[in-house]
């Protein structure tokens, strides 16, 4: 079986500074794969390249059997790749309902969209209660729920989540992590970027540790969680 997403020898630079230096990894359908690592490791750059916001220097990306490089960002979501960006980036002056509708921008099935909006409200009831409120008035955790819900609205084959736990209270973080598990159970494939290595690795089928633009270690979530060097570097143990 071929992987849903296959990244080979990807290199990405900002000007002369190479942020991603020749990485390769793949994501099988139905899996949660996580990229962990510190700030500046190149995780966000990798996701932004996958969704077409950045152009790579070299390498290949195959998604669902098609090459992605050169496809403009607004076409990539149509292929089934959704991206919930770092820092949430909800549309602050649009309502919650409008944000969710924008997540389904390319879909034409009005009824299906209404149903899926309801599904997001079931997943995150607070969003339903505030549907007509400007999204900028939501708390950080609620905005994160909205960003995830919005990404789900395109019915993606692969959902990319960038730092969903960033800036959240521990309770809120647990909610988000539980939701990610639920999404996996319902069959969504997820590529998760996290600084919270503990949380990410306990959910993930596979993990890759990134350091200054390279993948330095790969394994199953459980393996990495018990790996000594990972524990030292990312789980705050000495």
């Amino acid at each position: 079986m071929t992987a849903l997403l296959e990244v080979k020898n990807l290199r990405v630079a900002y000007g002369k500074i190479e942020a991603v230096k020749d990485i390769s990894f793949s994501v099988e359908a139905g899996q949660i794969v996580t990229l962990i690592g510190t700030n500046g490791a190149g995780k966000t750059t990798t996701l932004r390249t996958l969704s077409g916001l950045l152009k790579p220097l070299a390498g290949t990306i195959r998604f669902d059997g098609r090459p992605l490089i050169g496809v403009p960002a607004h076409r990539i979501v149509a292929l089934g790749l959704a991206h919930s960006p770092e820092g949430r980036h909800i549309f602050p002056r649009l309502t919650i309902a409008e944000n969710l509708q924008l997540g389904a921008f390319l879909r034409k099935d009005g009824e299906g969209i209404t149903k899926d909006i309801q599904r997001v409200y079931d997943l995150f009831p607070i969003l339903g209660e505030r549907a007509r409120q400007a999204a900028g008035t939501l708390s950080g955790g609620e905005q994160q729920m909205l960003a995830m819900g919005r990404a789900l609205m395109s019915r993606p084959k692969l959902l990319m989540l960038d730092e969903p736990s960033m800036g959240l209270s521990p309770i809120m973080m647990q909610r988000i992590m539980a939701t990610i598990t639920e999404l996996k159970t319902s069959g969504t494939t997820i590529l998760l970027v996290e600084q919270n290595a503990q949380a990410a690795l306990s959910l993930a089928d596979r993990g890759h540790v990134m350091e200054i633009g390279k993948i330095v270690l790969s394994g199953t979530g459980a393996d990495l969680l018990h790996d000594e060097s990972v524990r030292k570097a990312y789980l705050g143990e000495d």
């Binding site: 969704s51 077409g52 916001l53 403009p72 960002a73 607004h74 076409r75 979501v77 149509a78 959704a82 991206h83 960006p85 820092g87 949430r88 980036h89 909800i90 549309f91 602050p92 002056r93 649009l94 409008e98 509708q101 924008l102 997540g103 921008f105 390319l106 900028g136 950080g140 905005q143 919005r150 395109s154």
Partner: protein, 310 residues
């Protein structure tokens, strides 16, 4: 004081005209943070487009029948030039330093003026523009609306209403708001932001053409330089109202128009300021108002402080 209602009506007509042009500045700024200083020339091009249609039509075509065709002609010219400017002048500079597109805009503005001056027949001097025949409508004892002002007083609210509904209710309008608020994330939703940007220029161009026809009717003549002061005033209106906000642009236009009309009417009656009143000083007062508003409320009347981006 008995002149007040008439001053308001005159100011409203002038302000509605400014507001229509200001929409073009504010829409483009809202989406690409670019001040299109060539927008005044887009108005001028629209006026010549409308005049061209007028000259093509049989000489005895009544103006009410010619007007819709002139509007279409003006809009085609304005929209074509505005979108071509976006595609060939501004888009290649989208990631360049801010100063580059600004200088391009000024260059484009001069180029468009000179092209019309050089190639439009008899455009080296002013060209006559058709006007409605007949007396002004009398609303009340001393209150009149010029026939030529009526056009803009009807057209501007209709245009605003249509634009407001389009932006708030349509799928494309929502995509436009999303692009203005966060262009990269808009792309992630599947929005072709390049097309949204072209659309912003096109809407600005269409509104400019309506304003151009209104200006032609009011003045009875047009010329290749007309875009300069109109553009500057409309830019003032856009800033006054809060740049990026379409209702702010119209409000800024109306406030500016009324202030100008009031300054021309009243300032000469203030003891000691006789020589500062009258029509010749109206531009001074318009820009003085801009300075005042910027001192007190730098974000403009309806502008928001840019702090709500998480």
């Amino acid at each position: 004081m008995h002149q007040l209602p008439q001053t308001l009506v005159n100011g409203l007509a002038l302000g509605a005209l400014y507001g229509l042009i200001a929409i073009g500045y504010t829409m483009v700024y809202g989406i690409v943070q670019l001040i299109n200083f060539a927008h005044g020339e887009i108005v001028m091009i629209g006026a010549f487009g409308a005049l061209t249609i007028h000259l093509w039509l049989p000489g005895d075509t009544p103006l009410p029948a010619a007007l819709p065709l002139m509007l279409i002609g003006g809009a085609v010219a304005s929209v074509a030039v505005a979108t071509a400017a976006e595609r060939f002048a501004y888009r290649p500079l989208r990631n360049a330093p801010r100063l580059a597109p600004l200088i391009t805009a000024i260059g484009l503005s001069i180029a468009l003026q000179q092209i019309v001056w050089a190639f439009y027949p008899d455009a080296k001097k002013s060209r006559g523009f058709p006007q409605f025949q007949g007396d002004a409508f009398e609303l009340a004892g001393n209150l009149h609306i010029q026939r030529d002002d009526l056009f803009v007083l009807v057209a501007a609210p209709l245009c605003m209403l249509a634009l407001g509904l389009f932006v708030a209710r349509s799928r494309t309008g929502r995509a436009m708001q999303a692009t203005a608020q966060d262009p990269d994330t808009a792309k992630l939703m599947g929005i072709n932001t390049d097309r949204i940007i072209v659309l912003a220029f096109a809407i600005g161009g269409a509104f400019a053409a309506v304003a151009a026809v209104a200006q032609g009717l009011r003045a009875g003549q047009i010329n290749f330089e007309m875009g300069f002061i109109l553009g500057l005033k409309a830019f003032t209106a856009a800033v006054l109202g809060g740049i990026g906000n379409i209702y702010g642009a119209m409000l800024g236009g109306v406030v500016l128009g009324i202030a100008e009309a009031a300054a021309s009417t009243y300032i000469q009656h203030i003891p000691g300021m006789q020589q500062l009143g009258g029509g010749g000083w109206k531009d001074v007062w318009a820009f003085a108002l801009l300075i005042l508003v910027l001192l007190i409320r730098p974000q403009g009347l309806l502008g928001e402080r840019v702090a709500d981006r998480a």
